[in-house]
């Protein structure tokens, strides 16, 4: 964390020979600010940030003492705050708390040291060769044989000894490098152990084991999710023969730490460590959704190019993450994993292929259903896409508006009641309320038309009631009787 602070202090310095962004990456010469939208901080914003940090400190307690208590008591508050981003100065500590690596560290005193000092690994040369190629544009890792490169080597070597089945795989360096910017070597090592061995979530060692079994599974699940959530794009991918292995392997293998803007990587990691790998799928879907209208039209090479070079607006975490969270994928991921496992077991028993045929054809039917091929499945796909859409009936974003139609109905029923019974205050409140919700429904990503329609109707009904009330109280329509006289 100390290194981080250094980086922070370097930033405001105007004529530093090599200017560094707020994360310590050396800036590209053209100031196309690779870190996305740079905001100049107003005093107001600064105060808000301070308040946020105070809240976080309270939540964590001294040395993390209150954390567990807080998480069990108010998991939703924690989830919400994490989704907004962990304050950078507390990130390292919180990451250790939410990943379960703290406990591993405390349970295994001295183990890391032994791994680093006394053990040798067959991957040592491979690791050394990649050290200078990991975050080469970060000041911490830039210096040859400097402290950054040494820590990176130690962590990777220690892991390759700790788990010889995994050893060292390219891509792990980015994860280790990312962690080392926020914690000590030993902490970073145990966090990797926690992730790969599954301290809190499902183990992820399959991302790196021989055959990369988990990468294959994730890619398959992702391909299906794309087809289900964005049938048109899924179709274009199919027509152009684009396979997720061409663009998304590194998303999973490095959890977005390989080629995305660092401020996005950090926000994804906040959520990833607390909620699990699901967020990688969500962010992947959100990237595709954000560029959806372009992507559906592009031919092979341009498509591949776009899938590796997302525009800056797409990688702004404040836009991308809310969009990502709007994809509800948890239950579908479980189902897809089951299907995938089933299919895997299929070919392995090829000797008794006859017995397996019914199962395979069932799977094929399932796949046929998902791929918008025939006319019949077109409808099914559209329906499925609606059901699974972020405002579909599997979400509160569908049932909320449905329930809100109750306001409109009640308002309509009251139309014939005498205006003296109308509460002006209450009706005015309803008008403001629906007005606010109309704005929300319009601004939210994706736009919630059902909610918008509901509140537009309610606004109309309530405004009518308000006018009746006003008339009855004599605020408007005074002139009318005079004119009649």
């Amino acid at each position: 964390m100390d290194k981080k602070k250094e980086a922070d202090e370097v930033e405001p310095g105007p004529s530093h020979s090599r200017s560094v962004d707020r994360f310590g990456f050396i800036k590209a010469e053209q100031s196309n600010s690779p870190e996305g939208i740079v905001r100049s901080r107003s005093i107001h914003e600064h105060e808000r940030e301070e308040r946020r940090i105070r809240k976080w400190r309270k939540m964590i307690g001294v040395g993390g003492s209150d954390w567990r208590h807080y998480v069990t008591r108010k998991p939703h508050v924690v989830k919400r705050r994490i989704r907004k981003g962990i304050p950078d100065c507390l990130r390292g500590l919180v990451w250790q708390l939410i990943s379960g690596s703290r406990d591993l560290l405390l349970m295994n005193p001295g183990v890391y040291e032994t791994l680093v000092i006394y053990e040798t690994s067959s991957s040592e040369l491979e690791i050394i060769r990649d050290i200078s190629r990991t975050f080469p544009s970060h000041i911490f890792f830039q210096q040859r044989h400097g402290p950054g490169q040494r820590s990176l080597y130690n962590v990777l070597k220690a892991y390759s000894v700790y788990d010889r089945d995994v050893g060292y795989v390219q891509g792990m360096g980015f994860i280790a490098g990312l962690l080392l910017l926020y914690m000590s070597e030993e902490d970073a090592f145990w966090l990797i152990v926690a992730l790969l061995k599954g301290a809190v979530h499902a183990p992820m060692e399959g991302l790196y084991q021989a055959g990369l079994p988990l990468v294959q599974q994730y890619l398959c699940q992702f391909e299906n999710l794309v087809i289900e959530h964005m049938p048109k794009l899924g179709q274009n991918f199919q027509d152009e023969m684009i396979n997720p292995s061409m663009y998304a392997s590194q998303w999973f293998i490095t959890v977005f730490s390989y080629s995305f803007p660092f401020h996005l990587t950090l926000r994804v990691w906040d959520v990833f460590l607390y909620e699990g790998v699901k967020v990688v799928f969500q962010v992947g879907l959100a990237l595709l959704r954000f560029c959806h209208d372009d992507l559906v039209k592009l031919p092979f090479e341009k498509l591949l190019y776009s899938l590796r070079n997302f525009p800056e607006e797409a990688t702004d975490p404040d836009t991308l993450l809310p969009l990502a969270f709007s994809f509800k994928v948890s239950s579908r991921l479980v189902e897809l994993e089951k299907e995938y496992r089933k299919r895997l077991e299929g070919p392995s028993g090829r000797s008794s292929s006859k017995r397996l045929q019914p199962l395979n054809s069932k799977v094929m039917m399932r796949v046929g259903d998902l791929i918008a091929g025939g006319e019949r499945s077109d409808m099914a796909t559209a329906f499925k896409a609606f059901v699974n859409s972020p405002v579909g009936p599997k979400t509160t974003h569908f049932w909320g508006p449905v329930a809100n139609w109750g306001f409109v109905l009640a308002g309509l029923v009251d139309l014939n009641k005498p205006p003296e019974m109308i509460s002006g205050n209450m009706t005015a409140a309803m008008c403001v309320y629906s007005g606010l919700f109309m704005r929300f429904a319009w601004m939210v990503q994706p736009r919630n038309y059902l909610l918008l329609a509901c509140h537009a109707s309610n606004e109309t009904v309530q405004l009518y009631h308000l006018s009746r009330c006003a008339k009855a109280q004599g605020y408007i329509g005074k002139k009318e009787p005079e004119a009649q006289q």
Partner: protein
């Protein structure tokens, strides 16, 4: 790389589309060669995770050619992801590092076998490239050894340096000229068959291997 890809795509027409593949051990400079060839630049690159892809238009022998080049991760663990990209390639470039002997011996031990195993074009042209000749003092593989290997395996051979630009373009040009000389490879590479070029070799066979659709 943005410039190279988009610039090449703005040209509407081409006579042939060739699919090329770069293979070889990790760190021998496959991505650097490709970057030098497509964008004429050289920089510190991160290891390739999985595969990368670039397009370059070239005019050769009076023909407009579009080269679709797949760059693969060199580390052994990634071979499950890269093996499907051999399919349908008209040319394969095997790269080694002249300063690291093991990257040369791995070509016969590993990479030549990978080509035999996964390539679908019988006549696919192979090219042996020794990279990093700028580090002459650290050389561990002689030019003669390269020539012998090339003779034995029936492939073209060049030594080059992505850093100093020496021979980089020639690598691709020689390979492409040889492809142009091989009628069986031209059949499915003409612009008429352009759609198919990717299709037949898109890594659908992953499906067979991984059970994915």
């Amino acid at each position: 790389m943005a410039a190279s890809a988009s610039a090449s795509q703005s040209q509407p027409d081409f006579d042939y589309l060739f699919k090329l593949l770069l293979i070889g051990d990790s760190g021998v400079g496959k991505s650097s060669l490709l970057l030098r060839f497509t964008a004429d630049s050289f920089e510190d690159l991160s290891p390739t995770i999985g595969v990368d892809f670039k397009v370059k238009m070239v005019d050769l022998a009076g023909k407009k050619l579009k080269l679709a080049i797949w760059d693969t991760a060199g580390q052994e663990r990634f071979r499950t992801l890269t093996s499907s990209y051999y399919r349908g390639a008209q040319g394969v470039i095997m790269v080694y590092d002249v300063t690291r002997r093991e990257t040369f011996t791995d070509l016969s031990d590993i990479w030549a076998k990978e080509i035999d195993l996964y390539s679908t074009n019988q006549d696919c042209i192979k090219m042996l490239v020794g990279n990093k000749v700028d580090k002459e003092s650290e050389r561990a593989v002689t030019k003669k050894e390269g020539i012998e290997f090339a003779r034995e395996y029936g492939c073209l051979f060049l030594e080059c340096s992505a850093k100093t630009k020496v021979n980089v373009e020639q690598c691709f040009e020689e390979l492409v000229l040889k492809i142009l000389d091989t009628p069986s490879l031209l059949a499915d590479a003409s612009s008429g068959a352009k759609k198919n070029i990717f299709k037949q070799k898109a890594p659908e066979a992953d499906a067979a291997a991984s059970g994915c659709c």
